[in-house]
């Protein structure tokens, strides 16, 4: 155990060699190609994930008309952005956006299941499926928000949106101050999955 760190880097090297060798063998046997790993992970890395939600929110920050449409008819507004046809509802589920504004803070939960608007938020964090989070967020959202570092003043109304099999909610956070001159792309970089769940605020970097 004296050489703990050397041991660890050795293990890393071994694992890397084993994974590479396995991939090479499967390529040689014609089972996969050298593009397969990238293709299959492209889904999570470039097609479906919080980068979609970030683009949607950034557009809403830039364009008040888009924001209005996003709240009134979320699927139609998202379609305008041309993020991909995989956003369409094949299972009868719909995404709905709710906007934070002065005096109103929104938070999304799911008390019955773990419905999650994954095309815009990606994979949910560990705690989202935790029954303790789900029931406490419904019962005492202000206390839960405080634990997340979001101090909601008494006069601000906290609205809870409980997702179901039919409707999956996400939050349009408020545009942070000090971002007036930013481009849409720069704004998108400020939008985190947690801010779109309502458990964090978007912050100027």
């Amino acid at each position: 155990m004296a050489n703990l760190f050397e041991y660890d880097s050795d293990r890393e090297k071994q694992s890397a060699a084993r994974a590479k060798a396995l991939e090479a063998l499967l390529i040689t046997k014609g089972i996969i190609t050298d593009k397969t790993v990238d293709q299959v992970l492209d889904f999570f890395e470039t097609r479906m994930g919080p980068f979609n939600g970030a683009k949607i929110v950034a557009r809403a920050w830039m364009d008040p008309d888009f924001k209005q449409k996003l709240v009134e008819d979320t699927p139609a507004a998202i379609e305008e952005l041309g993020l991909g046809d995989f956003m369409a509802g094949a299972e009868g589920e719909h995404m709905r956006a709710v906007a934070n504004e002065p005096g109103v803070h929104n938070i999304i939960i799911c008390t019955l299941c773990s419905c999650y608007p994954w095309p815009v938020l990606g994979l949910p964090p560990y705690w989202y499926k935790d029954p303790a989070f789900r029931s406490r967020a419904a019962r005492e959202p202000r206390a839960v928000l405080k634990e997340f570092g979001v101090d909601v003043p008494e006069e601000v109304h906290v609205k809870l949106w409980d997702s179901s099999a039919q409707i999956r909610w996400f939050v349009i956070p408020e545009r942070p101050e000090g971002t007036e001159g930013m481009s849409e792309e720069e704004l998108a970089a400020l939008v985190t999955p947690e801010s779109m769940m309502g458990v964090a605020l978007a912050k100027a970097a």
């Binding site: 293990r11 060699a17 994974a19 060798a21 479906m48 995989f86 999955p193």
Partner: protein, 113 residues
């Protein structure tokens, strides 16, 4: 929302014993080989080389064996080491590779293994 195999496969794992590490809404890989292993496993299941559930059974068993033989605070825990071992087993059992080929793979490992 169209459910793609990739999404369905990963969401099935969430909240289960084999739940993968993730960060900010995406899968979280600490090293390139972890990404390679995950991609191979998904691809083989997607192509029907093995069933995703069968792979997951191997993974859950690997995790269970590690937990049974280690203290749960043991810092040497590594999700993707278990993942890679499960992938080798599932690929061998499916017949995609045979145990001889796997053995020659393992010869690539340093002798200290």
């Amino acid at each position: 929302m169209l459910t793609r195999f990739e999404h369905h496969a990963v969401t099935e794992m969430l909240g289960q014993p084999d739940t993968p590490p993730r960060y900010n809404g995406t899968l979280c890989f600490g090293h390139e080989w972890e990404r390679t292993a995950f991609g191979i496993a998904l691809a083989l299941a997607k192509q029907g080389v093995f069933e995703w559930d069968d792979f997951r059974d191997e993974l859950i068993a690997e995790i269970g064996n590690w937990e049974a033989s280690h203290n749960l605070t043991d810092a040497s825990w590594d999700y993707y080491e278990r993942f890679l071992s499960a992938l080798e087993k599932a690929a061998t059992k499916s017949g995609a590779i045979d145990s001889e080929e796997l053995a020659s793979l393992n010869n690539l490992k340093p002798a200290s293994a």
